[in-house]
């Protein structure tokens, strides 16, 4: 059965530097798609182009050539208000360093994407309560980020990414600043949400443990997709082993 992919990337290229200056090609001819409900990981060593790719997908940067379609919308040419609306409605973003506003309580941080769309207060309250239940942070809602642990902060950040039911969730090393227990909890949560709500997740990471939660992993090196690995119903432990093996051959 052929379904329309949520993310569809074709011939994507990114070159840094002006034409007459020294140029650097960060991404070369990237092609891939993310199906609805898929949990996709992007792995690669430092400098491989992971962050550039994520920036292009999240519309934070503009590609030199090629197309990025998200939820049936070409995003590489969006501008101004359309661009802002796209970010606010279609993408839920989780950052490595949480990016919570420390002057707002957890509740206010989570409500922000809804306030931006002028969702009525009663609906906002309900939506925040619901997502807080899912992420088990209901009792933390009135605390400020400074009063929360790293794991709690990241769950609040995840709640903010989820609250407006975006078309896709993107994570940029979301477990990078967490201890192993919190990291595992967050990844469990993400895959639960991915399975129960059928939201596709795109995870950029260099950590094989995080990657083992994915359905499919794209390995990037020097700006190109070098390898693709599918879980195909394997247990997570086995998949983890496969990833480690792959990484091993990759670095040879």
């Amino acid at each position: 059965m052929q379904t329309t992919p949520i993310v569809d990337v074709k011939n994507l290229q990114k070159i840094y530097g002006a034409k007459k200056e020294k140029q650097y090609e960060a991404l070369t001819d990237i092609n891939f798609a993310v199906a609805p409900g898929e949990f996709v990981g992007i792995m690669g060593p430092s400098g491989s182009g992971k962050t550039t790719l994520l920036n292009l997908l999240s519309t934070l940067d503009v590609p030199t050539a090629g197309s990025v379609r998200i939820n049936n919308q070409e995003v590489s040419h969006l501008k101004g208000k359309q661009l802002a609306d796209f970010r606010a409605q279609q993408v839920g973003f989780i950052f490595q360093d949480f990016n919570l506003l420390e002057s707002l309580t957890a509740r206010e941080n989570i409500s922000l994407p809804l306030s931006l769309q002028d969702v009525p207060r009663s609906k906002t309250v309900a939506a925040v309560e619901e997502v807080a239940q899912t992420l088990s942070i209901a009792d933390l809602l009135d605390k400020y980020p400074a009063e929360l642990s790293g794991g709690q902060k990241q769950r609040v950040a995840a709640a903010r990414a989820l609250v407006h039911h975006p078309a896709i969730i993107m994570g940029d090393e979301p477990t990078g600043a967490l201890d192993s227990k919190s990291a595992r909890e967050l990844l469990d949560l993400l895959s639960n949400i991915n399975q129960q709500q059928n939201v596709p997740v795109l995870l950029v990471t260099h950590d094989p443990f995080s990657a083992s939660f994915c359905d499919r992993i794209l390995f990037i090196q020097d700006g190109r997709i070098k390898q693709e690995l599918s879980r195909q119903g394997q247990a997570r432990k086995d998949f983890y082993g496969q990833i480690l093996e792959q990484l091993g051959t990759f670095e040879q």
């Binding site: 840094y16 920036n55 999240s58 519309t59 934070l60 940067d61 503009v62 501008k79 101004g80 208000k81 661009l83 802002a84 609306d85 796209f86 970010r87 606010a88 409605q89 993408v91 973003f93 950052f95 990016n99 506003l101 420390e102 002057s103 707002l104 206010e108 409500s111 922000l112 994407p113 306030s115 931006l116 002028d118 207060r121 906002t124 400020y144 980020p145 400074a146 009063e147 903010r160």
Partner: protein, 597 residues
């Protein structure tokens, strides 16, 4: 190597250094301008007309010193926050703490010295332009005033270098106590915003009480005399501070919890303001006081400016009298903006001055409508018999014949047959003494030369104008001059504080950009956030002034007469600063929507 690193550090944060240096230059410039007036005792003695001016200036000086201390301490905290990462890096690379210490102290003192020298030069420039402008606008003559005043230069330089040396030592001890790793990772620990209702209520009540005492003290200046000023200064400062810390936070928290907040970026903006207001309590207090002082000074200056014409108008019905006009005087008189002009003939015989009755019947002599105490400057023309009764006690009329002891009115034929010294008198009233002051001065000088009369024997409103200008012009000038100087100080103080906090906001706005906040909303949020920081002290400052003008009741007829206009003008200038700050801030903080094109 260290030097090279230091220079690279400065290059990287060039924008921040420009902000820092600009702030310091403006502050030292204003300090110099104030000092050049306040410690110039000749100037104060020659121009104030009232004895308390010198003390008022001393209070002003003390206050400015305190403000400068706050300012310099802010500047140094900012400087240290910019440098500590570099210092940490130097130490990582193996530099000794002592070397870093020396580097830091040198940097700090050098910065203070350079800023104050440029500031003094700027101060001299501004002072000469501003004083020239004010002299021309107000039509006052100021003695012993010079934009270049040696002692003030020395004082300014000393104050700044000493303050910076002190700050450097404080920074040094702070630096020495901080471990290297902490220097490298200076994350701002978020201040915990907790509401403590009882404490806040107490602070609010205490604050209002303090303000009430201060305002009452100012209103009672007649009984309290000079003690009113220090009482008012202390209580109003304390009251403003308490009120700021108590009320603003509470009100903002209440708004945040309300339905209103759940729209767009409002929660964020409110939280930002709340955060800021708490962190800025000290500076907002200083700003509201500066605002009040600047506005007060300008209001008083404007009050005097307004008062002089009123007083002049009530002294005399006409502006000048010209005896036996020469062709040259006639030419000058043509240049005047005449409201009305009358001519009479006069014959002096012995110690009696004779006039032709018929002339006054045909062309009534305008006189002040009411006697001195109730006089409002209105002019009336009386019937001949009534005029004759009033004329002999009217100083305006008597001034036309300063050397005669008696006045007689004769009928036409008697007057024409009379022998004696014949004079032609022209009396003129102009629309504005200020406007015509240069021509009036020339005519008066010419008359004095010809008739050898002492200046104040000439009569007319112009002599009164000159007298009052000598008395009050100095105060008027000081009011305007200081008002504008204080405004500049205040604006740079607030601007500096706000711009120096931009670094923290850059992160926040970056995040907002990522989650899809449009540029328009972000700009709006900045307008609201920074605008509020300007509005709050402005409103408090206006309230301070409205009460503070009570102090000038003994000096001015009605200090409140045109306060509305001064407030409006002042707010426009203040608004201009706010706009400038907001635009600069926006440029620093709002990120581009996308990284590269």
């Amino acid at each position: 190597m260290l030097l090279k690193l230091a220079i690279t550090g400065i290059k990287q944060r060039f924008r921040d250094y420009v902000v820092l240096l600009m702030g310091l230059i403006i502050s030292s410039g204003i300090f110099y301008i104030f000092a050049s007036l306040a410690i110039n005792t000749d100037f104060i003695k020659a121009n104030s007309g009232i004895s308390i001016a010198a003390q008022v200036f001393m209070f002003g000086m003390v206050l400015l010193l305190i403000i400068t201390m706050v300012y310099v301490s802010y500047a140094n905290t900012f400087l240290l926050s910019m440098r500590q990462h570099d210092y940490g890096l130097f130490m990582m690379l193996g530099a000794k703490k002592q070397n870093i210490g020396v580097l830091m102290v040198l940097e700090t003192i050098l910065l203070g010295g350079v800023a104050s020298i440029i500031g003094i030069i700027l101060g001299i420039g501004v002072s000469s332009v501003l004083s020239q402008f004010l002299f021309n606008q107000l039509g006052v003559t100021i003695h012993h005033f010079s934009p270049i005043y040696g002692p003030a230069m020395i004082d300014t330089l000393t104050v700044y270098v000493v303050l910076f040396a002190l700050a450097a030592v404080l920074n040094l001890s702070k630096l020495m106590r901080t471990p290297v790793l902490k220097l490298l990772h200076v994350e701002d620990e978020a201040t915990n915003v907790r509401v403590r209702p009882v404490l806040q209520a107490l602070a609010a009540v205490l604050g209002i009480a303090c303000l009430a005492i201060g305002y009452y003290a100012m209103a009672q200046i007649m009984t309290l005399q000079l003690t009113a000023i220090p009482i008012a200064l202390v209580t109003i400062t304390l009251g403003t501070y308490l009120l700021f810390s108590a009320i603003i936070g509470g009100v903002l928290t209440a708004i945040r919890k309300s339905r209103f907040a759940a729209k767009r970026l409002r929660t964020f903006t409110l939280a930002q303001i709340n955060f800021r207001v708490r962190g800025y309590t000290r500076i907002l207090t200083v700003v509201s006081l500066l605002f009040a002082m600047a506005l007060g000074a300008i209001s008083v200056g404007a009050g005097f400016q307004r008062q002089i014409p009123t007083m002049v108008a009530s002294i005399s019905s006409y502006t000048i009298s010209i005896k036996d006009e020469t062709p040259n005087e006639a030419k000058l008189a043509k240049q005047l903006h005449v409201k009305w002009q009358k001519s009479y003939q006069q014959t002096i015989q012995g110690d009696t001055a004779y006039y032709n009755e018929a002339a006054f019947a045909k062309q009534p002599f305008p006189m002040l409508a009411n006697p001195a105490a109730k006089n409002d400057g209105r002019v009336k023309q009386f019937s001949l018999p009534e005029f004759k009764k009033k004329a002999i006690i009217s100083s305006d009329f008597l001034a036309l014949s300063p050397t005669s002891n008696h006045i007689r009115f004769l009928n036409n034929s008697d007057f024409n047959n009379l022998k004696g010294q014949k004079h032609q008198l022209t009396i003129i009233r102009v629309h504005s003494n200020v406007q015509d002051r240069k021509v009036l001065e020339k005519i008066t000088a010419s008359q004095q030369r010809r008739f050898h009369e002492p200046f104040f024997n000439l009569g007319g409103g112009y002599s009164g104008f000159v007298l009052f200008n000598n008395l009050f012009g100095g105060l008027e000038f000081m009011g305007f001059f200081l008002g504008i100087a204080f405004l500049a100080m205040l604006a740079s103080c607030l601007m500096f504080k706000i711009l120096s906090g931009a670094n923290k906001d850059v992160v926040r706005y970056n995040m907002l950009n990522r989650i899809g906040v449009s540029q328009r909303l972000m700009k709006q949020a900045i307008w609201q956030e920074v605008g509020t920081l300007f509005i709050i002290p402005g409103v408090l400052g206006i309230i301070d002034v409205l009460f503070g003008l009570q102090m000038f009741k003994p000096l001015l007829y009605n200090p409140y007469e045109i306060v509305g206009w001064t407030i409006l003008g002042f707010c426009m200038l203040y608004g201009l600063y706010a706009w400038l700050t907001i635009s600069l801030y926006r440029r620093l903080v709002v990120p581009p929507m996308q990284l590269s094109k």
